[in-house]
């Protein structure tokens, strides 16, 4: 079957980002299209601008260039987009349970002024089961392990019934069990035609997990199929210090 005639979930054109007008660009001239039903890995050294890339796409940072989601803007497609930030971005002491967090993915569908019903909770439990956290549903999120915390956020993205998943280092600091579980889940989602953009820190085994690679270091060093984008030459260029 051909994916080419479907609308691309994400296309980025000439994206550049700098935090303030006085600063240098943290990212320059990135153009890229994610095809439906594919997994794209975003790789590059620390400080390459990987998180900045995701945040610019999502309008969380000021940027130049254009970003198109499906057939239109971010505002029109919010429901279809799930973002999983780095684990350090939330307050783990906050009094919410795994189930509470997972339920948040359902809020837009529950709607304003409506209470969370038993059926909503059952639905959220179903997503927690998919990440094998059904037994931890009522535990406060800070009392979960790093891997479990990451899975709670994955369950929330699933609950949202998103089409496009943007994940910022989901494998950072998580246990082996979570890594296997998440990669299995990703290929499952891919089978269902979902699209994923995943920031990853590990070059090894990248070709096993990703269909497409973006090799970043402040600009796009290489992109394409893993074998091609991760050539020795490209890696050397991405990981060597940038000349001033």
């Amino acid at each position: 079957m051909s994916m080419d005639n479907t609308i691309a979930p994400l296309s980025v054109k000439d994206l550049s980002c700098r935090y303030t007008r006085q600063n240098n660009y943290a990212l320059r001239d990135i153009s890229f299209t994610a095809k439906a039903g594919t997994i794209t890995g975003v790789l590059g050294p620390n400080g390459a601008g990987k998180s900045t890339f995701l945040k610019s796409i999502l309008d969380l940072l000021p940027h130049e260039g254009s970003v198109k989601f499906f057939d239109g803007t971010l505002a029109k497609n919010r429901q279809k987009i799930a973002y999983i930030p780095q684990r350090s971005s939330v307050d783990w002491d906050f009094p919410v349970s795994a189930l509470d967090v997972c339920l948040m993915g359902l809020y837009p569908r529950i709607g304003w002024l409506r209470r969370i019903s038993k059926a909503h909770k059952e639905e959220a439990m179903h997503y927690l089961e998919q990440v094998k956290l059904q037994d931890f549903a009522h535990r406060q999120i800070g009392a979960l392990s790093g891997g479990q915390q990451q899975r709670v956020f994955m369950a929330r993205a699933l609950a949202q019934q998103a089409e496009l998943f943007l994940l910022d280092e989901p494998m950072a600091g998580v246990d082996q069990k979570t890594q296997t579980l998440l990669f299995d889940l990703f290929s499952d989602l891919k089978q269902k035609g979902k699209t994923m953009l995943i920031i990853h820190h590990n070059l090894q085994a990248a070709s096993a997990h990703f269909d497409h690679i973006l090799l970043l270091n402040q600009t796009l060093v290489a992109q394409g199929a893993p074998e091609q984008a991760l050539s020795e030459d490209a890696i050397n260029r991405a990981y060597s210090p940038i000349e001033a």
């Binding site: 999502l58 969380l60 973002y83 939330v90 307050d91 009094p95 339920l103 948040m104 209470r115």
Partner: protein, 295 residues
């Protein structure tokens, strides 16, 4: 004796009940978002607005005072923002600079402009004047103190707001970035909370003064934070802790000196604030899960 209770102690108890519940509910959001210092800033910054309100209306007219207070609270928030972003000062320093300056300005206005024409003095502003409230006939609506009416209206607005938007408030306070991407106007919730907090700070102003109200906002909410892991229980528990400290604090200040045979009165708001602080210390030490002696 009973008459005195109904005329003086009963209205004061109603006021501390309403005030403590309101402060605990809204204070919980400040504690949860780690913005407790905001109540310091707001409760002090409203002073010039209150004084201007009093000057314009010629009395302690609640609408003028509320409008004035809200305006100066919003100016304070704006100034903090300006200091922080244009002045490159960290938020804590910006807040400290703004609220002391505005409070000082308020005190000067009060001393130079209000004078003896209107009953409002610096002591009143600092410690409140719970003892001065009275309700000529507690079974009569018309003689109900304005403070009670104001606080009751604020309580209804706050409870309706919290119930109606509970899940959105949970989402926007816990994970504002995610909420923004989902299309929630996070800043609208923040502003609404700040407006409510400013109004409540003024509503409690007469009862507790601008400094002691901080204890009611922070201590019960922080104590509840030590004791539970659920947002609903956080709100309910902080409410009960606040209420308990306020009622026992008031009764102790009103009755204890007399029972112990001292011929003196103590400031109720101070006792309430002290009890709230003790409540927090007990929670910190004794919390089964997060306390000093917890495993």
């Amino acid at each position: 004796m009973l008459d005195q209770f109904f005329i003086i102690d009963f209205p004061a108890l109603v006021i501390v009940t309403l005030a403590s519940i309101l402060c605990a509910l809204l204070g919980s959001f400040l504690v949860l978002t780690k913005q407790a210092v905001m109540i310091d800033a707001i409760s002090h910054s409203v002073l010039p607005g209150i004084v201007v309100g009093v000057l314009l209306s010629g009395s302690f007219s609640i609408l003028y005072v509320m409008a004035g207070a809200l305006t100066s609270a919003l100016i304070a928030v704006l100034l903090v923002y300006v200091f922080q972003h244009w002045g490159k000062i960290e938020q804590g320093a910006a807040i400290g600079a703004v609220f002391t300056a505005m409070f000082a300005f308020g005190v000067l206005l009060l001393e130079t402009q209000v004078g003896s024409r209107i009953h409002l003095d610096t002591q009143h502003v600092l410690y409140g004047a719970l003892e001065l409230t009275y309700w000529a006939n507690p079974f009569e609506w018309s003689s109900m103190p304005t403070q009670i009416k104001t606080l009751a209206v604020l309580l209804i607005i706050t409870v309706v707001f919290l119930l109606a938007f509970f899940k959105e408030l949970r989402l926007t306070t816990f994970d504002p970035t995610y909420a923004r991407i989902m299309g929630y106007k996070t800043y609208l919730f923040q502003i609404t909370l700040l407006v409510l907090i400013s109004l409540v700070a003024v509503g409690c102003f007469e009862a507790t003064g601008s400094i002691l109200v901080i204890a009611l906002f922070i201590c019960p909410a922080a104590a509840a934070r030590m004791l539970c892991d659920q947002m609903t229980s956080q709100l309910l528990l902080s409410m009960f802790i606040g209420l308990f400290c306020a009622v026992t604090g008031y009764l102790s200040s009103a009755l204890l000196p007399m029972w112990l045979g001292f011929d003196m009165t103590v400031n109720s708001a101070s006792v309430i604030a002290l009890f709230s602080g003790i409540g927090l210390i007990i929670a910190i030490i004794a919390s089964p899960k997060y306390g000093t002696f917890a495993k």
